[in-house]
Amino acid sequence: MKKFLLFIHQVMPLLLITALVFTLSCKKDETGPDDPAPVTHPRVYVCNEGPFMNGSGSISVFDKVTGTVVNHLFYKVNGFHLGNIVQSMEVVDETGYIIVNNANKIEVVRMSDFSSLGMIENLTLPRFFLQIDAKKAYVSCWDNTVAVLSLLTNNVEKHAATGTGPERMVKIDNRVFVLNQGGFGIDSTITVMDAGSDLAIHSLQVYPKPTGAVADAEGKLWVLCSGKGFNGWPQADDSKGHLLRIDPLSYQVLADYEFPATDKHPDKLVINQAGNAMFYIYESGIYRFRPGDTALPGTPLISHAGYIYALGYDDQDDMLYFSDPVDFVQNGWIFRHKASDGLAVDSFLTGVIPTYFTFR
């Protein structure tokens, strides 16, 4: 027993010292950014995909008047995460629809306070949301369908077949043009759907990987095709990108502008409020093209030293927004430039992989 007491006598001080050292080396973990403040000014919502595979996306909100940013808005309001790969977000009246791609769902929020109203499920890899009228919306899904969503019940009512990997959609009159980008492969078609019957009425053959579509001031459809291949990884069978002007009624290609190289692929396409200037990403820059131009521009409107991932246009103040995800595993940057002359305005940090802008 004496030996045991001796042992305890010798061990205890050392134990206490070790525990004290370790305790002192610990400090209280810091929590995340500040709590969200009520946002009443014009604002920009940024969808952040979140870390690939094992993370959750997030929503950042930028107050255009005060210049303040609140990250992880949804989590801070609701106390749980959105899910893996937040792809896009659209607003219908006072209800927000957040498309969470890899979680196969749409999170529905009340825009006044961003509180969750519920989830819409029964979707496979949803990508983008397009309001058709007051009662329904289309959601493009990578199971090669467009889901027809009732805005009255927030239920998926049916699925309409498309080409492979449907992505962006644009509505002109009563026709919806669904760009089939190819998903994990390659497609080069546009599915034309009748917005009344929700049926595919035509399939339009374009160039590989149609990635962006807008309607100009004259109601013509502009489609940007990236072409086969990846930037920075040239292969023998790569193809050039194209910018097409298409008559939405006859589907006739009115103009076809070919990009000069097979190893450089344009991406994203937005148009200003007047419908007389389009912007797209090409070669680490943002280029401007006016519908009356006879050739594609040779120099960028905006040059960027990093990588441009997302592009948005704010028609309230004629501003271009683009994102740089840095290395895709840390918070990304948003840059604001004037659309009229490309001059830089400011920049701010958001969440991981900022991918989509929603302007309110």
Binding site: K3, N54, G55, T124, W142, F230, G232, G306, Q330, N331
Partner: protein
């Protein structure tokens, strides 16, 4: 009523060979019974209340072994190995070492981080040959069953493993002992929570100079543990794991020559559950491996020689589906490698110098559609080490020069120097080593983004330790020490997007790692009562010193999934043949993104183990073991959005014949 064949339990057989055969038959009958049980038991194990958990817990001790003076080397305590028969290597190291295991959940992918480094900075070595997959440069430690191995050692410092001189460390998987008498066998099973069922059989025999051990393991687990997400209770889905492994070890002595062979077949199939933030992609993974090793040794008074050759064939098939039909991913990777080495230990004729020389070579082929086909890598290397006993007792110094060669790549020479010895009750050691790591085949050949122009990572590692032994008696002992290290790795390989958005492997970063590992160990024994405890901590800072681009905010930030703080404690009490052990692990905050803006909270887990050994006869005994894992039912994640199981139980019964 079932009649037991032959009345083996009632009739006393004749002595001699008959007795041996009798006991062997009795063992075989028991083994057959154990192997026949699974389905019935599995069905009973579905309910969580009847559940049972994993792996054993006991106090681990530091046993010294080394090639190079000044290194930190830990051997997992043999008692821990004995009670970890159901555990994987990931489970063992996560609980009984200062390694951090990036664990995606029970039965799923687990990789290691040693001393604040990435998984690819730890070498995994079996019988002298590299086990890490040549494609990824790392291993999934959750599919390496401890039942197959005799011992596990961790080494931080200079080693002669091919392909790298790892900044993190080296994990050695030693073969089981081949000196267990004439004949020995064991069979048993484990039954645990979440329909976890494992069966084990091993048979060992020795005749004159030859010995053979055959070990077989079968495992199945549903891994459907409960967790809560968004306030809703779920059960983990798509998480079933199955596996079987067979290992045959032989030893043959002929004169001064000893030959060892080992053959290892393994087949592990798993469903891969998604993160809780994602939809189920019906992901599946299958790992198959065939490995064979031949090793020869010829010890001698002046010269000792050794040589070995190994051939590994590994196959990995991974699929993901959206829904039932849309195949998103179908990846198949085949690795074939041949490795060989030759070593010489020679006592030089002056100043007591000892020379260790080694040459090695390997040819590795990785065939996968992800590379656009097949790629082969040939490499080799040599190393020369001089050991010098110094004037004082126990003091020794070593000096090494190592040079590796890889076709098409310049590998820097890797010198190392170390010294260690004792002064009174103090033990001192120090080592400086140049580290390097050759880029993995994925880094070089992956399409897109692989970079054939990559250079090996290179760096310097400095480490020193001081240990104090104020009490060193037969019945009691006390040791207190601290090991400190500093590593600077240049040309650190990171996958980053280039200006065009393609993820590309680049030698872009410099990483600084520094830390210390304080340890406290004590033991006390009186009669049949024994008490052992240890407490160890890891305080490690691993930070990027450079930026990957103008907007990178990771400079000065901690590497992701490398905890700054870990604390592990263990207490073991024995009373005769009864053992109680408790281990407690604290893991500090872990960052999940490179600018450290998101993190996982710190967590504590504790595990308790009760074991009783029951002698059944003069040559047979049964070991009953009951474990409670995560006994405080801590809710935590080791990888973001991958929940870990709560409290779980494991019951193990092993019959041993010797």
């Amino acid at each position: 009523m079932i009649r037991i064949p032959g009345g083996l339990f009632t009739t006393r057989p004749a002595a001699g060979f008959g007795l041996v055969m009798h006991r062997l038959l009795r063992f075989c009958w028991f083994a057959a019974l154990v192997m026949a049980v699974p389905d019935a038991v599995k069905a009973q194990a579905v309910l969580p209340d009847s559940a049972i958990a994993l792996k054993g817990i006991e106090v681990s001790g530091n046993k010294r072994f080394f090639l190079m003076p000044g290194m930190q080397a830990d051997t997992i305590d043999s008692l821990v190995m004995r009670s970890s028969v159901a555990a994987s290597l990931a489970g063992l190291l996560g609980q009984h070492s200062l390694a951090y295991i990036r664990d995606y959940g029970q039965g799923n992918l687990s990789s290691i981080s040693l001393r604040g480094t990435a998984s690819s900075h730890t070498s995994l070595n079996w019988m002298g040959f590299e086990l890490n997959a040549p494609g990824s440069g790392m291993s999934d430690m959750s599919i390496l069953p401890l039942f197959l191995f005799g011992n596990v050692r961790l080494v931080n410092g200079f080693v002669m493993v091919p392909g790298m001189l790892p900044a993190g460390g080296t994990v050695y998987l030693d073969p089981p002992s081949m000196s267990s008498g004439r004949i020995a066998a064991s069979a048993g099973f484990s039954l645990g929570s979440f329909s976890d069922f494992r069966q084990y059989v091993s048979v060992y025999g020795r005749k004159e100079g030859s010995a053979c051990r055959v070990a077989y393991l079968h495992q199945h687990a549903d891994n459907d543990f409960p967790y809560t997400y968004r306030g809703v209770a779920y059960r983990r889905g798509n998480a079933v794991s199955t596996g079987r492994a067979l290992m045959v070890n032989t030893e043959h002595r002929s004169g001064r020559h000893t030959f060892y062979t080992a053959a290892w077949l393994q087949d592990a199939g798993r469903e891969v559950p998604p993160s809780v933030s994602a939809a189920d992609l019906n992901a599946n993974r299958r790992d198959e491996a065939m490995r064979a090793v031949l090793r020869w040794k010829r010890p001698g008074v002046r010269n000792a020689l050794s040589a070995g050759v190994a051939a590994f064939h590994e196959y990995l098939h991974y699929t993901e589906k959206a829904g039932d039909t849309l195949l998103l991913l179908d990846s198949r990777i085949r690795n074939r490698s041949v490795q060989a080495d030759f070593g010489l230990d020679r006592k030089l004729g002056f100043a007591g110098l000892l020379l260790h020389a080694r040459v090695s070579g390997s040819a590795v082929t990785v065939n996968t559609g992800d590379f656009g086909g097949s790629h082969r890598r040939k490499s080799g290397g040599w190393g020369l080490t001089l050991f010098k006993p110094l004037g004082r007792k126990d003091w020794k110094a070593g000096l090494t020069l190592r040079q590796d060669w890889v076709k098409g790549m310049f590998v820097p020479p890797a010198p190392s120097a170390g010294i260690e010895g004792s002064i009174a009750a103090w033990q001192l050691k120090a080592q400086v080593t140049r580290n390097f790591r050759i880029p993995s085949m994925n880094d070089v050949y992956w399409v897109p983004g692989g970079n054939p122009g990559l250079k090996p990572e290179r760096g310097w590692n400095y480490q020193a330790g001081i240990h104090w032994f104020p009490l060193k008696h037969e019945e009691s002992g006390l040791a207190l020490g601290v090991d400190a290290y500093y590593t600077l790795v240049d040309q650190w390989i990171s996958w980053i997007p280039d200006g065009k958005g393609v993820w590309t492997a680049e030698n872009v970063q410099k990483v600084e790692i520094c830390g210390c590992e304080p340890r406290l160990e004590g033991r006390w024994r009186s009669g049949s009562f024994g008490l052992k405890m240890n407490l160890s901590a890891s305080l490690s800072s691993s930070t990027y010193l450079t930026k990957t681009g103008p907007y990178d905010n990771s400079r000065g930030k901690q590497l992701i999934y490398t905890p700054r703080k870990q604390l592990k404690g263990a207490l073991q009490a024995t009373f005769g043949s009864f053992v109680f052990a408790y281990t407690h692990n604290f893991t500090g905050k872990i960052f999940t993104v490179r600018d450290n803006s998101s993190f996982l909270d710190a967590w504590n887990t504790g595990s308790a183990l009760f074991r009783q050994t029951l002698p059944i006869s003069r040559t047979g005994s049964a070991e009953l073991q009951f474990e409670i894992k995560n006994c405080w039912d801590e809710s935590y994640e080791a990888v973001a959005f991958y929940p870990m199981p709560g409290r779980a139980f494991l019951f193990t019964l092993i019959y041993k014949y010797q």
